[in-house]
């Protein structure tokens, strides 16, 4: 009896002492964390994907709170949660959410099995990173998709899949959160995060050059049926100076592009420009002529930046 009593009293005393130590320690060494960080964290999706550029959701929350102290949430966007989540974050921090355009991953290669014939067989580890370092891939294109699916493995939202028919990855627009993981995983930098574009009739309209081949025209042409050969036709036709030509490759600046579809029609030989909607083909010349006339002066200005390749490559493209 006595032994039990002593044990209870001793343990109780130790417990009490320890709890007092802990209590004072917690007061003395308390780390102050802004309570708003916790609140912001709670509304974030907790995917910890790093798509925002910060180490996980709590890192992003801390960055948001810090930015809010500076007075603005500009440049902070959770790509997964998008605008609705940012609005909630802004409400907690007592600010207006910066307007952000929704974005989506875009695969800039159309070198399907049909368009891009295989010339060698790759037999190594099934990984784009390895394939890229081992050789130039199975086709004559040294820039295009390798098809081993590193992007698919990198996606945490099940939003990108290989299409067995084309051998190319396809992005599921509904599921894609534009976190950019696939883009980082791609050793050839084919996947780009672009704005979804303006919505017309229920679908978002965006246009991009569906190729990343920087080889000269004849080489690119031989490697793939739908490669950009840098002919510059699209540059000439764009009224908004949104298209630039560098290293034999056209690039459409999504900030300037108005998704008019002119370039898609201009690229009628190589079909290297991809639009998410059906671009109507203009009717024969008679009607088209007056419409094209006002565009001419602007087009010339755009061409002036890269006159040589455009002039050289155009005849080849038509040949």
């Amino acid at each position: 009896m006595n032994v039990i009593l002593i044990a209870v009293i001793v343990l109780g005393a130790i417990g009490l002492l320890a709890s007092l130590v802990l209590f004072f320690a917690s007061k003395k060494f308390a780390v102050h964390e802004d309570p708003r960080i916790g609140q912001v964290s709670e509304v974030l999706p907790q995917a910890n994907c790093g798509g925002c550029g910060f180490p996980g959701c709590s890192g992003f929350a801390a960055a948001c709170v810090k930015a809010a102290d500076g007075g603005s949430l500009e440049g902070k966007l959770c790509p997964v949660g998008g605008q609705p989540v940012m609005e909630k974050v802004a409400a907690i921090l007592g600010l207006e959410a910066a307007a952000a355009e929704p974005k989506v991953a875009v695969v800039r290669c159309n070198g399907s099995c049909q368009n891009r014939p295989r010339i060698v067989e790759y037999d190594g580890a099934i990984s784009c990173r390895v394939a890229n370092a081992t050789g130039a891939g199975e086709t004559a294109c040294q820039f295009g998709c390798l098809g081993c699916g590193d992007c698919v493995a990198a996606c945490k939202f099940d939003a990108i899949h290989m299409n067995p028919e084309t051998g190319l990855p396809e992005v599921d627009e509904e599921k894609c959160t534009a976190c950019g993981a696939c883009s980082k995983a791609c050793p050839r930098n084919i996947i780009e995060i672009r704005p979804k574009g303006r919505v017309v009739k229920g679908s978002a309209r965006r246009v991009w050059v569906d190729c990343v081949n920087k080889d000269k025209g004849p080489v690119a042409m031989k490697a793939c049926n739908v490669s950009c050969i840098g002919c510059g036709k699209c540059v000439k036709v764009c009224k908004f100076e949104a298209i630039t030509l560098e290293n034999n490759l056209a690039y459409i600046d999504p900030e300037k592009c108005k998704a008019c579809g002119q370039c898609v029609n201009a690229c009628n030989v190589r079909h290297a420009i991809h639009a998410t909607w059906e671009v109507p083909v203009p009717k024969p010349k008679t009607e088209d002529a007056p419409a094209a006339a006002p565009a001419a002066p602007k087009a010339e200005a755009a061409v002036a930046e890269a006159p040589k390749p455009a002039a050289e490559e155009t005849p080849k493209a038509e040949a």
Binding site: S127, R129, V130, A133, G135, A136
Partner: protein, 447 residues
């Protein structure tokens, strides 16, 4: 018999062309010279379209200290400066020269007379290194490290001996073997010159025991050079690795990077390099031709060629009876470290020691299955690493762990992948990890 102490494998030797004398390959119609044929900065072209060049004319100058100039192997006209698919499979800048006749630069001594180091008392170590630099010499074993850089030890390091790599541990290849049999005197003068250049008086030539005729001949010829010792070695791959060879010959182990062989007092050069040093110093001949083994089980006539740089590999294959119908892979280099080529028009470069044609059966990789934890790769690794672990952490992009496990020590010999019963692509993954980790380390050091 001596050999290195850790790991190693013994692949089937298949030295099919060992008894084939070196044949002079025909001149190509157009010779192509990629500007990046060596480790370090790519060379810079110094010719333009339409320029006339002779054999031995410099067509590209070194692009930095760790770099080497490129010399024309043919006489003719510069056709264009464009790109060519090299052994990596990618397009790289290159100079195209249309061949017209075979006119050599007058400075090159084309006589066959043997010039010994004793005949040229004017050769100071500095002059030898200068001549080597001006001949565009790079290591001929395959890694293509500029020779003059290795011959200038960094401050604080002192060379104690020169080790010549004549082991030719890669299966199939016989270029070095034939070189020793046919040019033994010149090789020995070359070794003597390298020893002079780094101011040491001890030289070793390591030869594997599967070349008894070369060991015998070199031992006889080396009687005249008391400072040069021929060291027969037990046949084991990768004995030709610099660190393995140092361990085998002088029983010293090079610590992990950034330590280099000179840290333990050794300067290692390939036997082909020794011959090229002789030609560069004594005959004023820049590096524009080399011995290439063209071989394969299905090939009609496996051969050794003395080929001019820039010759397309397809031409050499044609000279051996053409591409066999059951070709599975064409490999630039040996079967262990060589690279499967995407295109047989790849030109012969300074580091092209061989062209191997594998038949369908040999070329097929085994079906990959799970790791069974047998640790054969660990036993085979000549650097004492754990390949299965390195491959896994690389595949999972865990670079911190990869660095902690010394991935940068990997010499990419492929022994692990060769020995793996589950045919796992170990080296494929390790190589990626090594490149990435080295990039991370470089970025950290420049910060």
């Amino acid at each position: 018999m001596k050999t290195f102490r850790i790991g190693g494998v013994h692949p089937e030797e298949n030295k099919l062309s060992a008894d084939q004398p070196i044949k002079v390959a025909a001149l190509p119609e157009v010779a192509v010279f990629p500007l990046g044929q060596h480790i370090g900065a790519p060379a810079k072209a110094v010719v333009a379209k339409g320029d006339k060049v002779k054999v031995g004319t410099m067509i590209a100058e070194a692009g930095g200290f760790v770099s080497a100039g490129i010399y024309s192997s043919v006489s003719g006209t510069v056709q264009k400066i464009d790109t060519v698919i090299d052994a990596s499979g990618y397009r790289k800048p290159a100079i195209y020269i249309k061949v017209e006749g075979d006119e050599w630069e007058e400075t090159i001594d084309r006589s066959e007379d043997l010039v010994k180091a004793a005949d040229r008392p004017d050769l100071t170590p500095e002059l030898i290194v200068e001549k080597i630099k001006n001949a565009g010499l790079v290591g001929m074993g395959g890694a293509c490290f500029p020779v003059h850089v290795k011959l200038c030890p960094p401050p604080g390091a002192k060379a104690e001996c020169v080790i010549i790599n004549a082991v030719e541990c890669e299966p199939y290849l016989t270029a070095d073997h034939r070189l020793m049999l046919e040019k033994a005197d010149q090789v020995l003068v070359g070794v003597d010159l390298i020893m002079k250049a780094v101011k040491v008086n001890k030289g070793y030539i390591g030869i594997e025991e599967n070349k008894p005729d070369a060991i015998k001949l070199m031992t006889e010829k080396a009687q005249a050079y008391p400072n040069i010792e021929i060291v027969p070695l037990k046949t084991k791959y990768p004995q030709g690795g610099e660190k393995q060879l140092i361990d085998a010959v002088i029983r010293r182990q090079v610590p992990a990077p950034p330590a280099i062989p000179i840290s333990v007092g050794a300067v290692v050069q390939n036997v082909g390099t020794a011959y090229a040093v002789y030609e560069a110093v004594m005959k004023n001949k820049p590096l524009f031709e080399r011995i290439v083994t063209v071989t394969g089980k299905s090939l009609a006539q496996p051969s050794n060629f003395l080929a001019r740089m820039g010759t397309p590999m397809s031409q050499l294959i044609e000279a051996c009876g053409g591409l066999p119908s059951d070709t599975g892979k064409v490999i630039g280099g040996g079967p262990m470290m060589g690279k499967a080529l995407m295109n047989i028009e790849v030109p012969i470069c300074k580091g092209s020691s061989g062209v191997l044609i594998m038949n369908d059966k040999e070329a097929k990789r085994g079906k990959v299955s799970s790791c069974i934890r047998c640790a054969k790769c660990v036993s085979a690794c000549p650097m004492g690493l754990e390949p299965f672990l390195l491959a896994t952490v690389s595949a999972k992009a865990n670079w911190e762990k990869a660095e902690a496990e010394d991935i940068t020590s990997c010499i990419e010999c492929g022994s692990c992948q060769f020995t793996c019963p589950s045919h796992r692509p170990l080296l494929d993954n390790i190589r990626i990890g090594k490149q990435t980790v080295m990039g991370i380390i470089r970025a950290r050091n420049t910060k």
